[in-house]
């Protein structure tokens, strides 16, 4: 999509222009659980938990708290198996020196993939403790009961011993044998309850420590000075431009990487602003207004995800056929707290505190960047503002590491707002095209889906080139193709279907994982088009979906959402709506996340002001089935968050760029949903299925939101919108075009 071509040779030799390009297939797949080669390292109970002399249980996990409440949910899982109160559990997260490598905290996989390892370790620990207690109390194991970390004999309660007395402060020295049987969900008393979040009291009183709040003795403050344009190369740095500025310790320059280190934070901010740096422009970026056209015209690597029957002939003989194209722009994570990290690099060793979603992968990346052996680099997770995917958290860790290495003292770096907006990896733009056919009875007989997408993941998985600092010091991004195909496959039963992904080799802006990766976009297209077919068939949108579903869990969420919303059975658009100045309507969408995880259906109610084109989502009703629910309030919090954030993405968000750089650099140029625009009400029904695997809830509810809104706008106005965001200007233009026609 970049209009400039970057030669293979230049690509291989490195240089500042490499930000916008990366190599083709080296399929990596998202790594979300413990890497198999490391499993043997964590074969001991002691890798996972310890009981202190005070009876407190310390849990070691590679999964990390990103604001989604997993610290609490994982505590509940361990508390349940060990029979200790949640309050007595402390969790050590993501520390390459202390915790197991449980892969990346991504993809709503923490409970699903991280939970079982902790559950098993806790069950093994409990079994070991019971054996010790049996010996100590002279009572057979089956006669023992445990409550709040105290083991006692059922018939003789005076015979008792605490976990602390049994093992406090000592190692178990026992392997996780997989012979201990975790409790049956039917007997759960902690899992499944709305245990209050362990982190919230600290967060509302200013006592929770974020990475931003870490202060080391002798710590300096750093700021980065990014290139004037994406892909620009450094010509010169005029250190004299800092003149008599106080507190400047060092101007650091390595390749195209430029930063300042000062005694105080406000000094570093000022020095970074005033430092005169000359840059030579890199290759021009794509013309933004031709973005989608450029994507459609690019040479791609094509993969068929699904082929059922023969769509070509089926479309040809369909009673009715439709086609539509949907477009989704670049969007950003837009964390409220700009990325921050603290690094201490000296004497050939490095410790970096950061909010990476994968400290083990990033450890190896930073080792390469710093020229140190991975064993001499320790990464410690510290919580930051919500990231919603691969934002600047890894990049700033690399920045802090380079700056600390340059001065040999601890350095804290926090990005400025313009650094975050301008340089965080972006959720990439996508184009989706669907053709579909109906038979005379109004059933879908053919579905032909194509999506154009670049990769949605360029995380550092061991290579320095996947950090900005790595690229600015001459390394190239390496990434496979992943994420853009998420939920490309439809969730219905059709006799003829084809789903094809056209992988783009590059993106106009550095792409990476933003909540749900390609799933919200593909679901937007799939569920909008389903609605278009329903309208063409003159069918009620709920009934039309049910007609093409066979999975009972899918049917259950669609029916539950409709019931919750008091859905009125009739086709869209709403009769007579077109005459009112503020038109209201409702739309439904249904998605099974990744076609194999949580089931979500959502009904949105919108109010569309025909005079201004402004759309407000007034109400949202969601039915959600993520299997066994660990913490119902935690799941609700995630669902509400997904819904509100995706309303924001759908109605308001688009990263703007010119031929050289991102121009959405603050909250005015990249507005997000405000309190005035938030819905009146979000109602949720959780379908708890204790007999089903607990799958994640961090992303699924984002997926039906865009189509539910588009379908509601259609219901209200009779006008179909297919390009996100649904800004007032765009809606007004669409409504006016229909009026003119």
């Amino acid at each position: 999509m970049t209009t400039a071509t970057i030669s293979r040779r230049r690509f291989l030799t490195g240089g500042g222009a490499l930000i916008v390009t990366f190599s083709l297939p080296l399929e990596l797949g998202a790594q979300t659980s413990t890497p198999p080669e490391r499993l043997a390292q964590y074969a001991w109970i002691d890798s996972w938990l310890a009981v202190g002399g005070d009876g407190r249980v310390t849990v070691f996990t590679g999964k990390v708290e990103l604001g989604t409440g997993v610290e609490t949910a994982l505590s509940q899982i361990v508390a349940e198996e060990l029979d200790v109160p949640v309050a007595r559990i402390a969790i050590v997260q993501g520390d390459t020196a202390r915790t197991p490598d449980q892969g990346y905290t991504v993809g709503s996989k923490t409970i699903d993939q991280g939970g079982p390892q902790l559950r098993q370790a806790a069950a093994e620990a409990r079994q070991a403790l019971l054996e010790m207690a049996a010996a100590r109390l002279g009572a057979p194991g089956e006669r023992l009961v445990v409550k709040d970390g105290v083991v006692s004999a059922r018939e003789e309660p005076s015979k008792r011993v605490t976990y602390a007395e049994l093992i406090g402060g000592q190692r178990f020295n026992r392997a996780v044998t997989k012979t201990a049987k975790p409790k049956s969900p039917a007997g759960y008393t902690v899992v499944g309850t709305a245990a209050p979040r362990v982190d919230i009291p600290g967060k509302v009183t200013g006592t929770h420590t974020y990475v931003h709040d870490l202060r080391l003795p002798g710590m300096l403050q750093g700021r980065v000075v990014r290139p004037a344009a994406i892909g620009a190369t450094l010509e010169s740095v005029d250190e004299g431009s800092l003149g008599g500025l106080p507190g400047v310790v060092k101007v650091v320059r390595t390749g195209n990487f430029v930063g300042v280190v000062c005694e105080r934070e406000e000094q570093a901010i000022r020095a970074a602003r005033e430092l005169k740096v000359a840059w030579k422009d890199g290759p021009a970026l794509s013309e933004m207004k031709e973005l989608y056209q450029t994507m459609r015209g690019a040479r791609t690597t094509d993969r068929a995800l699904l082929t059922v029957g023969d769509v070509g002939p089926a479309l040809a003989i369909a009673a009715k056929s439709l086609h539509a194209t949907y477009e989704w722009p670049f969007q950003m994570h837009a964390s409220i707290g700009p990325s921050c990290a603290v690094a201490d690099v000296r004497d050939g060793k490095a410790t970096v505190w950061c909010a990476s979603q994968g400290v083990f992968g990033l450890r190896d990346s930073l080792a390469e960047l710093l020229g140190l052996a991975p064993d001499n680099v320790r990464l410690v997770f510290a919580e930051a503002a919500g990231c919603y995917g691969h934002n600047g958290a890894d990049d700033v860790a690399a920045d802090a590491a380079l700056l600390s290495q340059a001065v040999g003292r601890p350095v804290r770096v926090q990005w400025m707002r313009h650094d975050e907006h301008g340089w965080e990896p972006k959720g990439p733009s996508m184009v989706m095209q669907v053709r579909g056919g109906l038979d005379a009875q109004g059933r879908v007989v053919a579905w032909d889906y194509e999506v154009w997408t670049p990769t949605h993941s360029t995380r550092p998985r061991s290579e320095a080139g996947n950090t900005l600092a790595g690229q600015l010091t001459g390394r190239a991004i390496k990434a496979g193709l992943s994420g853009g195909d998420r939920n490309a496959k439809y969730g219905y039963v059709f006799p003829n279907g084809r789903v094809v992904v056209h992988w783009l080799p590059r993106a106009a802006l550095r792409p990476s994982a933003l909540r749900g990766l390609g799933a919200p976009q593909n679901s937007f297209a799939n569920e909008s088009f389903m609605d278009e077919l329903a309208a063409a068939a003159g069918a009620d949108p709920v009934q039309f979906r049910l007609r093409h579903l066979t999975d009972s869990r899918a049917i259950a969420v669609v029916e539950a959402a409709a019931l919750l919303a008091r859905w009125e059975t009739r086709p869209s658009p709403k009769p007579g709506a077109a005459s009112r100045p503020v038109a209201t309507g409702r739309g439904i969408a249904y998605v099974q996340y990744e076609n194999e995880n949580a089931y979500v259906a959502m009904v949105a109610e919108v109010a569309v002001d025909r005079r201004t084109g402004a759309v407000r989502v007034t109400r949202a009703w969601i039915a959600h089935d993520c299997g066994l629910v660990i913490n119902p309030d935690g799941v609700r919090n995630q669902i509400e968050g997904n819904v509100i954030q995706t309303i924001s993405r759908t109605l308001k968000e688009e990263v703007k760029f010119d031929r050289a750089r991102v121009t959405s650099l603050d909250w005015r140029s990249y507005p997000i949903l405000t309190f005035a625009e938030a819905p009146d009400e979000v109602e949720i029904v959780l379908v708890n299925r204790p007999d089903q695997r607990p799958v994640g809830a961090g992303e699924p509810a984002a997926c039906p939101v865009p189509a539910a809104i588009a379908n509601a706008i259609f219901d209200a106005t009779g006008t179909r919108v297919r390009t996100v965001p649904f800004t007032p200007e765009r809606i007004k233009a669409a409504l006016d075009a229909v009026t003119r026609a």
Partner: protein
Amino acid sequence: MASQLQITVNGKRYRVEAAPDTPLLYVLRNELNLNGPKFGCGLAQCGACTVHLGDRAVRSCVTPVSSVRSPVTTLEGLGTREKPHPLQQAFIDEQAAQCGYCINGMIMTAAALIKRTPRPGEAQIREALAGNLCRCGTHMRILRAVRRVARA
């Protein structure tokens, strides 16, 4: 040039050394180790850095420390874990946070509103919070928490 300045924060008087144009935020965070106020944008657009000057909620990221005449209250001064302010308690009761980075601004802004208008209506609450951004999408819970105090 750095100069000696006196400010009152959370009921205590402090003598701090800072250039007069230093934003209050950095003095609170780095000189007084108060982590309640957060750096969000430095542009007074998001509200994460909100503190009270007297009874007014202000953006400490754009308030030069030398301009501060009234006593400063931060989230830590509003209440503690042991003795939380009613709004802090309401945010706990409603579990009204995800990452929590914006929550300082939400509580400080709402506290100033409730001091000024003890029983604000829905529109007043939403208007008061209009300049405070939350990216996790915790809006519904934050509104519930503020309502809980507004209607107490």
